[in-house]
Symmetry: C2
Subunit: 344 residues, 2 copies
Amino acid sequence: MTGKTNLRILLAARPEGAPKESDFVLEETPVPEPAVGELVMRTIYLSLDPYMRGRMNAAKSYARPVGIGEVMTGGAVGQVAASKHPKFSEGDIVFGNTGWQSYALSNGKGLRKLDCAEAPISTALGILGMPGMTAYTGLLNIGQPKEGETLVVAAASGAVGSAVGQIAKIKACRVIGIAGSPEKCRFVIDDLGFDDCINHREPDFAEKLAEACPEGVDIYWENVGGAVFEAVVPLFNYFARVPVCGLIAHYNATGLPGAPDKTPLLMRAVLSNRLKIQGFIVWDFAKQEREFQKAMGGWIRDGRVKYREDFIDGLENAPKALMGLLRGENFGKLVIRASPDPTL
Amino acid sequence: MTGKTNLRILLAARPEGAPKESDFVLEETPVPEPAVGELVMRTIYLSLDPYMRGRMNAAKSYARPVGIGEVMTGGAVGQVAASKHPKFSEGDIVFGNTGWQSYALSNGKGLRKLDCAEAPISTALGILGMPGMTAYTGLLNIGQPKEGETLVVAAASGAVGSAVGQIAKIKACRVIGIAGSPEKCRFVIDDLGFDDCINHREPDFAEKLAEACPEGVDIYWENVGGAVFEAVVPLFNYFARVPVCGLIAHYNATGLPGAPDKTPLLMRAVLSNRLKIQGFIVWDFAKQEREFQKAMGGWIRDGRVKYREDFIDGLENAPKALMGLLRGENFGKLVIRASPDPTL
């Protein structure tokens, strides 16, 4: 983490089940020098997100897997440390998908300058970045919340879930969160203003969820899967919508669950209740990025949307932090602080 | 079946698994007499449709279950035998949801006069009725076929599937049918003009389906479920659409299938491929009934849409015919001929 070496974290092996430290390798290389038309960015904040687990697999998905020996993928906020690029100057604060490394060489493509006066720069990885836009676009385009409807969202204290629920409150929905600890549930109710929040680790979780949704469920934001989804299926109202943006409960699975095969239950619910289940990724709605930033920026300034960040110091701790994220150990948007934030 | 008695078929018991004869009871009652404002219709054609299996269960669905001891539900075409209703005259040919009985008393509500010159009156139960409109509205509103896309439809020689595939051909899709016998497959290709049709009873069905869809599947019309659905899931393209209008393979199930639970496979496909899976029933699109009748009527007159009816004589044979329908034994739209058609 000095100015002299570049710490890079590479994918060493494709995980079987939950990732472990040996699936990553840390290497130190010299800090790169920019050629003409290039710049070098010093990473300040690295975003850790559930989708990264998927990129560690070889399986076909919407994005290319990270190759063995390649730098782990990830969005980051950093400062231009050296530039021979006409559009970027030393000292600029930028966002880019530069991966798990303390310095990144870039030709400027995909890099975006941040206005430090507008919001804390770390928010470009969270509420004002990909997770916030995932919530905004998926909820408005697919969830289509209407006044008085009931929305259920899991991982409710997390980066996406917390935004989904707060936007749904702005749209006058009844919002029920699901989270993994009493502390998280309290935060979701007291700080984020959800109507209720159920701890999915309690043995009577499904009953409590049903009690919290006396008028059924009109929108279920699917970012978890597994037992949470199963508890929601019997609660669906006619014409309920299910935006599917993640399945974190499945990501570490090495095989399929045992009997019975519950697919017929789900499809029966789809038919009888005329559900709409729709998968998406945020970039399907790339055209709405400006609209999102304007709306979300306004809500944050007005205090209508709050956010919580969970900082972990030291890039070398990213592997362990991602493992914890997949177990639900973070509390808020998980961000690695790779180097000091000069704007604070 | 004389003019003097009314044969009514009642639900005697809720079936466990496949319905059997003893789940129905036939009773003969006097032919009803219309009071002022009423009419009596003699049933000519009774429609048999897969959804009827669902109505025999007590479970919540989009429609009220048939009660034990109640006349089985069903659409029918008949002739007004006696009328004290101002809008209906003896001899009128009408369509209504009058159920499994040779005579029906009606106050005219839900009854619609048919124009015998326009099309054979039996088509009001099939291609120009609920099954045809199911195909039209579900395909255009949810399936949203685009030129050059690949559509897969099961039960391809049946009332709904045959219409779905032919409309998709009109919309310039590549259309692959799935049917249950070589004869049905030949009919689907030669008479209906599908690009291919695969027999789902063949052991290498999934491989053959994949071969028939070299560019993947953009629309899968779900009216079957089970093994057919499983064979389609790996073939989905990005942004594929799955209108869900039936699950005939599940209707007689008494429990869930064994291990593994394939729900995660399905949800993973939804997420990775951004699928849209949406259930519907035809009356969700009730406002499009006129549009449908106009479009479909035109296509039939132009020879662009063909239909096949499978007539069985005698109302008393309806229970056995429904049992056969659920095993895929019919070939075309299944219709009970309860009494002679005076328009032929």
